[in-house]
């Protein structure tokens, strides 16, 4: 079975700076992989590359079977992924339901998918008809998550997904991720909230300076996920 994500010597430039400096990575379908590393390590860039939003400058990359070196295929990939990034992509003037409906229908979701996404993210109550401009940061995050759920992506790309969420919101997010994986989705998570994200992930990959770092030995008695070195 073809990996959901396969990168070989992948280089991505931000301007002239190599934000990804030759990454090798394999992610199997149905896997949850956590990317950790210091600020500027390339975690967000890696997620955006896998979303087809950034071009592959050198190396090889295939995501869900789409060749990232081919601009047309990279664009086609976007409809099959969901990115929860630092920005929410929400329209302030529209209500929570309007936003979820618009982004869901853009990806071909029907009314039932939208209703299920709203309910699944706890937004089917009084928040449903509230304009996004009136929401707190955590509620905006939940709405953004509902938009992603309504799209039913095959690859979830989560950038600091727990940021801004309260305890219930974090539990909800983890539950949604597990359910997505159970239904066949693959999940890549970039996070500094290691305690929670490691409990969720099947595997941890450390990024440093735009490339994958060698794995450090697990602490004695650790029951966390497998940590993998991807540098040849």
């Amino acid at each position: 079975m073809e990996p959901a994500v396969q990168l070989r010597g992948a280089v991505t430039l931000l301007g002239r700076f190599p934000a990804l400096a030759g990454i090798d990575l394999d992610v199997a379908a149905g896997e949850i992989v956590l990317f950790r590393g210091p600020n500027g390590a390339g975690k967000t860039t890696l997620l955006r590359l896998c979303a087809g939003l950034l071009p592959l400058a050198r190396g090889e990359g295939r995501v869900l079977g789409h060749d990232l070196a081919d601009r047309r295929q990279a664009r086609a990939l976007r409809a099959r992924v969901g990115l929860l990034g630092h920005a929410t992509g929400l329209y302030d003037e529209l209500t929570v339901a309007d936003n979820v409906r618009f982004w869901g229908r853009a990806a071909g979701a029907d009314a039932d998918d939208v209703a299920a996404a709203l309910a699944g993210c706890g937004l089917d109550g009084r928040l449903r008809d509230v304009p996004v401009a009136a929401l707190s940061a955590g509620q905006r995050r939940r709405t953004s998550l509902a938009c992603l759920v309504a799209r039913r992506p095959e690859l979830w790309l989560l950038d600091e997904p727990h940021a801004g969420l309260d305890h219930d919101g974090r539990e909800l997010l983890d539950d949604l991720v597990r359910r997505a994986v159970a239904s066949g989705a693959t999940v890549l998570v970039a996070s500094h909230d290691l305690e929670r994200a490691e409990a969720l992930a099947h595997r941890v990959v450390t990024l440093v300076g735009g490339t994958t770092a060698p794995a450090s030995p697990p602490a004695a008695g650790s029951v966390g996920p497998e940590e993998v070195a991807l540098v040849p």
């Binding site: 969901g82 992509g89 302030d92």
Partner: protein, 222 residues
Amino acid sequence: MFRDAGLVAGKDLRIELRSQVTMQQVLPFAVLVLILFGIALDPDRGFLGRASAGLFWVTVLFCALLAIQRAFTIEAADGGRDALRLSGLDPAGIFLGKAAAIAVQLLAVEAVLAAGVVLMYGTEVTGVPLLVATIAAATTGLAAAGTLYGVLAAGLRVRETLLPILLLPVLSPVLIGATKAFEAALGGVAADGWPWLGLLVTFALLYLTFGTLAFGTLLEES
């Protein structure tokens, strides 16, 4: 493509209904410009009547700039452009949807302006079919070209000042054609206006075609 266009147009118009930017800001601006033209160019109704076609379309052009700026400002907030690129929507559909929403807002402004020109400048309408056809063709051209140049400027920090500089020269054929056709419809000989309408239709079709083909690339590069 047309399903996506409907989705985007519906979204943009819903945002306008909630924010009321066109009704509460663009429309009062248009009426104010009309009044100021009246004061500045002498309250001599004879002159204003003769110049009303040009004044009408210059005012519409200013309003179009505001509407186009607004259409892309809503996409610039909170990662909206990346979200659009990831949405799975056909770029041609996004182009047609945004152009349609701008056109609907401009038509609302033009209806009020037309009434204002007749009432304030004492302009006589003699060719209603030509007038309606000119408004339809010119508005389509303005919206299509504006959407194309709007996305071109959208990613730039200086977009607010750059857009008028880029767009106004491009829209000059619309200004000339629409003014000439309006002059023929407002007290002139209607037959003189139809060739100018042809120019407007050609302009609109050209930009609709070019926008449908190029919008995706411009959205990527902006």
